[in-house]
Amino acid sequence: MSRIVKEYKKIKKVLEGHGEAFENLIVQLAPVNEYDLLSWKATIRGPSDTPYNGFSIGLTIKIPSDYPISPPMVKFEPYKMPHCNVNFQTGEICLDILTRQHWSPAWDLLHVLKAIEQLLQEPVPESPLNVDIANILKEGDRTAYTGLVRYYFCGGT
């Protein structure tokens, strides 16, 4: 049985309520199609102590053929995601654990979503994919930061 099949079983169990750690974070994590476990969709809740609080955020996950030796490819989609480490137009995420160099095959999709939650809580303006947001963060203006994120979320371009 392949690794992603095992993960799918585990994820179903966790989301049915056997893993409280993920209850506040994950709204949905499932393959787009039951018969193709290489393509997934996820929806996570914006963490409460961040400007993303109250928003549901979509992600797509592609599983490479040599998973888990290679990391999954994760993007914010379909929403344009305002975050200093996310490309606003493509949804591409700059997150070290998703790179070949730092990925571990012992991690699974639940770990990945946890890491993305942490990135929402602790943005890294030193390696930005969204310079506008990174600059505001560097200035330390929390109110402006929250305002800008929310402005983007509500349809600003």
């Binding site: 049985m1 690794r3 095992k6 993960e7 585990k10 040599d66 888990p68 030796i69 070949r100 571990s104 095959p105 012992a106 699974d108």
Partner: protein, 173 residues
Amino acid sequence: MSNYQEEHGIQDDAVSRTATDDNEATRQDIRTQLREIFRLYSSDEDHQEDNTTLLELLSQLIPESLQEEWLEQLDQHDKKGCPESFIDSLPRVSKRNLSSTSACSICFSVFLEDDYPLVVELPHCDHRFDLECISIWLSKSTTCPLCRDDVMSHKVKIDSSKAELEEDWGMYG
């Protein structure tokens, strides 16, 4: 008379011991230099023609096992993974030492679900994986998937102890 001989015996011993120590140091020295030359000329592609003779000469001087080891270390720089010989040398964990719930963190399979589990242990951190799973991973990385320990960082120690045992090349002795 016997006293004199005994004295001589002791003295000879002392002399030869110092000589051995000196030899030892010289050997280590030459060994390091040879290794460096080998590394330089094996990897320098610009001067391939000029190197052939020297490399041939070196190859005759250096035992084959060492040549292989050094060449493997050269490959290492490009591949970023562990050499095959390292992966092959990982200690097996016998079936009776596996608990009924422990699983491989790469494929997530319980080891004992397989009637003939082929499980190995990494040096130092003792984390266990299916040989098949960890082989693929270590061909691309040198870290333990669980604790991120650099598994190759311990290899140096293993190597030097092995080198001391294999010191008897018979060419400088």
